[in-house]
Symmetry: C2
Subunit: 387 residues, 2 copies
C-alpha cells in the first residue's frame, strides 16, 4: 500500500473512523479504499457520507512533504514501528463494550488508521510506558507530585506518555527528560504545529529522545474534539494511566475513562481535600474506578513490574518500628508499669494489673531484648525514644 | 448492684477484661463478683490470677469521692445512660471474629465494665456520632482538613468523638465546639487527670457541652497500652471512624483497625503524597480497608444520613458544566469548525469532516440552544468562556 493512499485517507477521513476500520477489517487495502473514496464507490458504506465533504482534499504528496520538513514520517499498520500489540489489546478489549464510557463513545473506540511521528520508533518508545496526565491549571502541589512520580518511573525505565499540554503534562515530560528517560507526547493537532506555543522547545527535546505523535494531518489546528480523541491514544499506547491533579471536570478524567474502556490500569494520585484541585482524582477512587497511588513504586506494582509486597516492605524499612512499638499489649503494660527509678516485680505486677508470674516472665524477656534492665530486685526501663 | 462493687472491680480489674465479661455474661452480678474477688472464690476462673496483684486495692469509696470532686460519675450497664446499643452492636460484631485485628486482640474485644463520665448523658451524646482521629504531629494541612470536616459534621448535628490528644484530636474537638456542636473526649487516664496538660481548658469546655469519658479509675496515669484500649472505645461508641492525618505507624490507625473489627464504617481522608503525613490513610484506602472521604458530606453519605447521589449532585451544581462542556463529540466538531468570523455550512462541514446534512442539522440545533448564531448563510459561535 502506498504512503500516498494512507496520507490521502488521513486527510479526508477525520480519525477515529469506524467505517474505515470496518473496510480495513473486511480485507480492503488502503489503495483500494482511497480509490473508492475518490470515485464514491458503492461499497464504501458509512465512509461515503463521512468523506463526502473532504473527498476532493487531494493533497497527500504535499502532506507527506510538509511532515518531512517538520522531521516527521507517516506510519501505518504496515510499518514496523506500528504499536500493533498495544492497539490490538486496547481496542480488542473495547470491542467487548464493557465500560459505559466506551458504550457512549463507541464510534471512537477504534485504532487510528495512520500516525505522524517525530523521533524514535513509536513501538519501542511505548513498549514499557505509562500515561501521566492532569490539569493545565496545576498547583504547586501538582507540580511536585508529578515530578516525583515521573522521575521515579523514568528512573526505572518506564517511558512517560502525556499530552504535551501546559501544567501536569509539561511537568511529566520534563521530569522524564531530566531523569534521562524516554517520553512521548501525543498531540491534538498536526505534527508540524506547535501547541501550546510555549512548549516549542520542550516538544523538540521530546522528539530528540522519545517521540511526538499525531493522528492528524499537517496543519490541523488543535480543537476540543481532537483533545478527546487524542486522549484515547494516550490511554491505548500505555499499560496504564495515572491522573495526578484533576478537578471535577478536568479533561484528564476523559483520558482515565478511555484507559478504563480500553482495559488499561487506571490510577489516581490523591491530594489535599482542602482545595478542589484533586476532586476528580478522589471521585474516581471513591467510585472504585481508579486505584489510589502515592508514587512510582505503587504504579510499578500495579503494572506488575514489582510485587505489591515489596512496596509495603519498603515502607516497613523506611518507617521501622521502635522496639517499644513492637511490644504486645501485655509487654507494654509491664513496660509502662516500670517507673523511671526502678521497682520490684511485685509492685510492677500490681501496677500493670497482671499476675506476678506473668509479670516476671515478661520482665525477663524484655531484659533479654534490652528494653528493660535489672539491678538486684529493681527492674527499670532502658531509655528509649518515646513513640 | 452497688456503685461500690463496680468501683472496686474497676480498680482491681484493668479493663478490658474478658474473664470479668464471661462472669457477667454467665449471670453473676457485680456485688457477687466483687465479693468473689475479695475472697478468691473458686469460680473466678481467669479473673482470679488477673486480680491477684490488685485484689487488696480496696478503695471504692475514695475513688467515687475523688471522681465526684472532679465532677464525674461512674456509669455501668445498669445506668440509663449506658450506651448499650452501641456496645451490643460493636462487640457482638467482634465476637464473630471477622477481622484480623480482632483475632489478634481477642482479649480486648469486650465492652468496658464501667465508665467514668463528666458532662452530658453519654448515650445521648453518642447517639449520632462519628470518631475523628489523627496524628498528634498534625501539619497545617491536617489542621485545615480536620477543621472543615468536623465543622461540617457538627453543623449537621453529628457529635465528634475523639481522644483529646494534641494535633488532629484537639482540632476536631475545638471545631465541633466552635460550630455549636457536641463533642466527646475518651481519655486514656483517670477522669480526674488532665492529659495532655495543655488541654485542661479544652477538656472543661468539652465536659460543659458534651462529655469526657474514661474506662480507668481516678488517678490512673495515661500509658501506651491504655491508649490502645481507649481507641477501641472511640471506635465502639461511634457509627464510624475517620482518620484525617496518619503516617505509617500512627496510633490513629489502631482506632481505625478497631472500627473495622467492631463492624463500624472506616474512612480515611487523603492528603498530599509529597509528604509522609497521610501515608497511613492512603495505605488503608489502597488496601480497601477504608473508604476515601473528602468532607463531611461524604462521611454523612457513608453513614447513611444522606444519599451518595445527593453528594454527587452537589458537586454537579457546584462545578456546573459550561454549555460547550455538555456538547457531544459531533456537536463539538461542528462548534470547533465554526471560525470566529462565521462561515457557510459547506465550509464548516468540510472542516469538521462531517456530511453536510448532519452538519446543518447540528448547526440548527446548536443555534436553538444559543451556542451558535446565524446571519444569512454564515454561522458563527456565540462567545462562550472556553473550558
Amino acid at each position: 500500500m502506498s504512503q500516498e493512499s494512507w496520507a490521502y485517507l488521513n486527510r479526508v477521513v477525520e480519525g477515529p473512523s469506524r467505517p474505515l476500520q470496518l473496510l480495513l477489517d473486511a480485507g480492503r487495502d488502503a489503495d483500494e479504499i482511497a480509490r473508492g473514496v475518490r470515485v464514491r464507490a458503492s461499497w464504501l458504506g458509512d465512509l461515503g457520507p463521512q468523506t463526502e465533504a473532504r473527498r476532493s482534499w487531494d493533497r497527500a504528496g504535499q502532506d507527506l512533504a510538509e511532515a518531512a520538513d517538520a522531521g516527521a514520517r507517516l506510519i501505518t499498520p504496515e510499518s514496523r514501528e506500528w504499536p500493533r500489540a498495544e492497539f490490538d489489546v486496547a481496542f480488542g478489549f473495547a470491542a467487548a463494550g464493557r465500560s459505559e464510557h466506551v458504550r457512549s463513545y463507541q464510534a471512537d473506540a477504534v485504532p487510528p488508521h495512520a500516525l505522524w511521528v517525530r523521533g524514535t520508533p513509536l513501538n519501542e518508545a511505548v513498549a514499557q510506558s505509562v500515561a501521566v496526565v492532569g490539569t493545565r491549571a496545576a498547583t504547586r502541589y501538582g507540580h511536585e507530585a508529578t515530578r516525583q512520580i515521573a522521575t521515579g518511573l523514568a528512573t526505572h525505565r518506564w517511558a512517560i506518555v502525556s499530552g504535551g499540554a501546559l501544567g501536569i503534562d509539561t511537568v511529566a515530560h520534563e521530569a522524564a527528560l531530566a531523569a534521562g528517560g524516554l517520553t512521548v507526547a501525543v498531540a491534538a493537532c498536526g505534527i508540524d504545529r506547535t501547541y501550546p506555543a510555549r512548549n516549542a522547545a520542550l516538544l523538540d527535546r521530546i522528539a530528540a529522545r522519545g517521540c511526538v505523535v499525531s493522528e492528524y494531518p499537517p496543519g490541523m489546528p488543535p480543537q476540543r474534539h481532537r483533545f478527546l480523541t487524542r486522549n484515547r491514544l494516550v490511554a491505548a499506547l500505555t499499560a496504564g494511566t495515572v491522573i495526578v491533579e484533576a478537578a471535577w471536570r478536568s479533561g484528564a478524567l476523559n483520558t482515565l475513562s478511555w484507559a478504563e474502556g480500553l482495559g488499561r490500569v487506571t490510577m489516581a494520585v490523591p491530594g489535599p481535600v482542602t482545595s478542589a484541585g484533586s476532586l476528580g482524582c478522589h471521585e474516581r477512587i471513591k467510585d472504585g474506578r481508579a486505584q489510589l497511588v502515592t508514587g512510582a513504586d505503587d504504579i510499578r506494582a500495579l503494572l506488575g513490574a514489582v510485587g505489591a509486597l515489596d512496596v509495603a516492605e519498603q515502607y516497613e524499612l523506611a518507617y521501622a518500628a521502635t522496639p517499644v512499638q513492637s511490644l504486645t499489649r501485655n509487654e507494654l503494660r509491664v513496660f509502662d508499669a516500670c517507673p523511671p527509678g526502678g521497682s520490684s516485680a511485685q509492685e510492677i505486677s500490681a501496677s500493670a494489673g497482671l499476675p506476678v508470674p506473668l509479670t516476671v516472665h515478661l520482665l525477663m524477656d524484655l531484659t533479654r531484648r534490652g528494653i528493660i534492665s535489672r539491678e538486684g530486685a529493681a527492674w527499670s526501663r532502658v531509655e528509649v525514644a518515646q513513640g
